[in-house]
């Protein structure tokens, strides 16, 4: 069964990606490949992507047949979606174990949701 681990980041987490201090930049980036690799080696990786920061977002709203295009993310919250992984595991308990292994960083939050079963 597929579960999606949604990873929410603070402005500070996003800023760390391009921190002028190479150590801090490294601390951000170096944590992800081992995690993704561990998912693959354990045979549970079913997809995922890191996302560019929320200021690159474009939001579309639909009003009948009209659409309204806006700069920025749709929700103005402190934490914004920074990326996600899809894991193929037997149950939610196993998905939560993988979510707990997402590299920790102050303010980072993970949300785990079951994926809908594929239609058709």
């Amino acid at each position: 069964m597929n579960y999606t681990i949604l990873i929410y980041e603070t402005a500070a987490n996003f800023a760390a990606r391009n921190d002028p201090d190479p150590d801090r930049r490294e601390a951000y980036w170096s944590a992800w490949p081992p995690y993704a690799q561990a998912l693959r080696e354990a045979g549970v990786f079913a997809g995922g992507a890191g996302l560019e920061p929320p200021d690159t977002a474009t939001t579309l709203r639909f009003h009948g047949d009209q659409h309204h295009v806006q700069d920025g993310p749709f929700a103005d919250t402190k934490e914004q979606l920074g990326g996600f992984f899809i894991v193929d595991v037997p149950d939610l308990d196993a998905a939560l174990v993988w979510a707990a292994r997402v590299p920790h960083s102050p303010g980072r939050i993970c949300e785990v949701r079951p994926n809908l079963k594929p239609m058709g």
Binding site: S30, A31, P33, P34, Y35, A36, Q37, A38, L39, E41, A42, G43, L92, D93, L96, V97, A100, R101, P103, H104
Partner: protein
Amino acid sequence: MSDDATHRAVEQAARASYGRLLAFLAARTRDVAAAEDALADAFHAALEHWPRDGVPAQPEAWLLTAARRRLIDAARRAQVRRDALPTLLAAADEAEEQTMPDATFPDERLKLLFVCAHPAIAREVHTPLMLQTVLGLDAARIASAFLVKPATMGQRLSRAKAKIRDANIAFEVPLSGELPARLGAVLEAIYAAYGSGWDDVAGADPRRRGLATEAVALGRTLLQLLPAEPEVRGLLALMLYCESRRDARRDEGGAYVPLSRQDAARWSRPMIGEADRLLQDAQRAKRLGRFQLEAAIQSVHARRAATGVTDWEALALLYEGLVRLAPTIGALVGRAAAVAEARDAAQGWALLQAIPADAVRDYQPYWALAAHLLARLQRHAEADTARERAIGLCEDTAMRVFLRQQARNPP
């Protein structure tokens, strides 16, 4: 009396007596959920009455009387399970007698522990059920400790309690013939609350860290109730040895310190002393078991506080015995680590490789040890791959940082 002081009195009564009160009520009705509800109501009533009327001379008896009144009311309201009523009334009478000065009501917690770890109850619920019924921990906290969705944990606990009631699981201490097997399940459930004792490479499981104190409390309760069983002593000794090193597992800056590099001066001598005595008493019974062996392993580590050295040969032998008795993945990895230290890295690596790959795909300590041993064998590329895997499986930031540093400064 101030509200604060009353709150404290109620809290104290809850901490000291929750398990005994619940065990007494549940043993007589076999309905754990109803007993919990009644006891919760009794504590609420205490918060209402005690500030006004003062804390009663025998708070436990007061709570018991209040709780069984609720139980009787609830049974009458439900109009079902009429058959339970006589039992409830009998409990009421008994409780009434117990309000006499100096009388204490019987301690039924041992029966409750055996019910929680009953073979008819799903294994994964044994520990949560004990924590909730014997120690009064709330489901949300248990869910966090076991990394389970709180709603799911709530459902699992309710289902287990319904099973106890509907299957009429007896509140009794097993007869001596079945005792060892049934006791094994109780010990395992308590140890599961403590978390992994093999902290050499892994560090204590961070999820369970918050429950270590609770697990020790359960171990002490069990010892008080079953003083003649050596494995009970073994388990408590094991947990105390591990607890004695808690502060030494992190340095001042919060960085992870592996067991072999811990400053033994920071280990708790009183805890080691208590664990030593428990283990010696246990061994006098001449009935060796898994937990005595695990405690013995930890006692060898603890001896470094006195001798300054670690007897790896003794550890390798003890792990050999443990693997024969209880071949868990933790024991197999621990044996490989001990053999690598006692003899050489190649022998340790051979033992590590013999563990089935399926069993270690996401077992972090395996990969951390593999990285360590491969580096010692000068197989650096393979060591790096294993280390990356161990880092990817970390739940703990301090451990992740430690492994990264190892990559830069190989042994």
